[in-house]
């Protein structure tokens, strides 16, 4: 009798872990393999617009491998600059997010009771409204006849409207704005768990508040900093919406490039190669995130 029960338990366990694993294998992992294969393929004017993934030679499947897409990516300056530009934008945005988000997280973590939950709510509320609409809102603020220019002109601070849209500046603003909650929450989760008694001990030993912060709080908040930074940096590299609505037209980010290759040029193999290369660039940060960050984002909206 107990034997049967054990096997029922085993079956239940297998089901619980098996169902999501199967789903994710089919709908998350397998697609990436297809992208990988397609990146070695060639463009065709067919539907779908690529050569078949497998060539059958004497009944044995052979994956057709063409490296032309990658060769193209590595030599064409458009792509190289797009990758570098994306990395740069993502890095700068992450830094700005950190500089703005850390003090905010710090204040919230030190707040008491109702203040703290009210502040958290305020931080989280924009997150629940549409990402797209919030980026759109910046168009209205940054345009030539937008709110900021109108106010500055009215106050006489400037005499010509500033060009703020379609600049690097606009992209930074857009990314920092959209991703700020993703930086604040892991930082907050980390800071909240810190033992206040440590700061009191530091003060008791003669350290001024800033020194105590630098030598006690900051080092302990590094896991939160890493988690928050990765949570911003990695998706920011492949950002599409912000650069499309606010960004430059002369220098594209790689997300835009991929999308254009796919939708406008209909060159799916090339788009796949772009994606794979982006993945390779991000594989180390992604693994870092999985290693450390997984725990830190547990304070959720």
């Amino acid at each position: 009798m107990p034997q049967n029960l054990q096997s029922v338990n085993q079956r239940a366990r297998r089901l619980v872990m098996g169902v999501p694993t199967l789903w994710l294998l089919l709908l998350f992992l397998l697609p990436f393999l297809i992208v990988l294969k397609l990146s070695f393929s060639q463009e065709r004017l067919t539907i779908p617009p690529y050569a078949p993934l497998l060539e059958w030679i004497n009944g044995v499947p052979h994956p057709a491998l063409h490296f032309s897409n990658y060769a193209f990516l590595f030599t064409d300056p458009l792509y190289i600059s797009a990758y570098l530009y994306s990395l740069k934008v993502a890095a700068v945005s992450t830094l700005l997010c950190l500089l703005l988000g850390y003090p905010m997280a710090y204040v919230i973590a030190r707040a008491q009771g109702t203040w703290r939950s009210a502040l958290l709510m305020l931080i989280v509320l924009p997150f629940w409204t549409s990402f797209l609409l919030r980026v759109y809102a910046w168009i209205g603020l940054l345009k030539h006849n937008g709110v900021i220019n109108n106010i500055l002109l009215y106050l006489g601070i400037i005499h010509q409207p500033l060009t703020m849209l379609q600049t690097d500046f606009a992209v930074y603003v857009g990314i920092v704005y959209s991703y700020l909650p993703f930086m604040i929450l892991p930082l907050y989760a980390n800071l909240e768990k810190l033992d206040g008694a440590l700061l009191e001990a530091a003060a008791d030993l003669g350290a001024r508040p800033f020194t105590a912060f630098l030598r006690v709080t900051l080092p302990q908040s590094i896991p939160g900093i890493i988690a928050g930074s990765l949570l911003v940096f990695i998706p920011a590299v492949g950002e599409y919406v912000v650069p499309s609505l606010l960004g430059r037209t002369d220098q594209l980010m790689i997300g835009r490039v991929l999308s254009d290759e796919f939708f406008e040029n209909r060159d799916w193999p090339l788009a796949s190669a772009v994606a794979i290369l982006m993945l390779l660039l991000l594989v180390v940060p992604i693994m870092l995130f999985q290693r450390s960050g997984g725990r830190q984002i547990q304070s959720h909206p």
Binding site: P2, Q3, L5, Q6
Partner: protein, 378 residues
Amino acid sequence: MNQQQPIDSATQPAYVRIDKVSKRFDDFVAVDEVSLDIHQGEIFCLLGGSGSGKTTLLRMLAGFETPSAGRILVDGRDMSTVPPYERPVNMMFQSYALFPHMSVEKNIAFGLEQEGLRRDEIRRRVGEMLDIVKMGSFGHRKPHQLSGGQRQRIALARSLVKRPKLLLLDEPLAALDRKLREHTQFELINIQKALGVTFIVVTHDQEEAMTLSTRMGVMNHGRIVQVGTPSQIYESPGTRFIADFIGSVNLFEGQVLGETERQRIRSSELGCVIRVDRQLPAVRDATVWAAVRPEKIAMSRQPPGRDAVHPDTENVARGRVRAIAYMGDASVYLVALDSGREVRVTLPNSARDAEQRIGQDEVVFLSWHPSSPVVLTE
């Protein structure tokens, strides 16, 4: 101390038999070939520090861990393949583990519901149990509406309502403050006697173990190092570790004197000869340790005999009071001997007047009866 008589193991079969049970976690051996027999109606305490394996052993009894080797038998039945929900064993958790989303009544009723009893029967037994733990009017409360002591009683009620033959208790008194602890100790003993349940208690608190148990086992590094009644273990510890672990003790190192009647030990750190009233379990010149409890040492301003004290004097040592810890009913004296060694002596404060009691820096003479030292070879 629990005045119930310990069961004579020769006449009664063991209710719980732990047979060469070991538990390994990767490289770490938590429980190392433990064999133990526990009899029906006992309160058996497993006493040990953290890492001694006592909790792991308890969890194996409950069914939350499976032994890496050995068997556990309850009432003659091998529990190896039996999951926790099918064992005739219940457990009271250290954190109480009351279900926060259920009322007190529903918490207690939970176990009965799993047995498929009828609603009115369940209600009756829940009410009965609440009365036994004196929480009759608290049925509708939720756990967060109860104080620590109240939660403990509900946890006890919940684990007893299924009328298990064996109840496992994991540090039952650890979360209670001192007064409550004493009170609860006696309540536990009374309830156990009234219901006739066998208790196995795991604790790191030796006072708790000595008060509750009819028999206890001391655990260290995954092994049982001694089993006996509290009195047996306290007065006749088998090793220095046990002597030191339970209560306080003075351990004097020395060499065995005498060829045929081996009853004397010369100890240089004591500065005298220790004479005991029985044959020593060691050969001449062997190194042994004499364990003398602080309360067994007499302390006086004059030497007990008429002669002065010298190295060949038996069972008398001279020293100076170094420190005194006043505890109200008794005082603990730290006496520095001529050799530099410190001896701990506990005396009741019989005199109310502090002037009459022996004070700091006084020269004193320590003496004891030959039956007091326990001589240990390890």
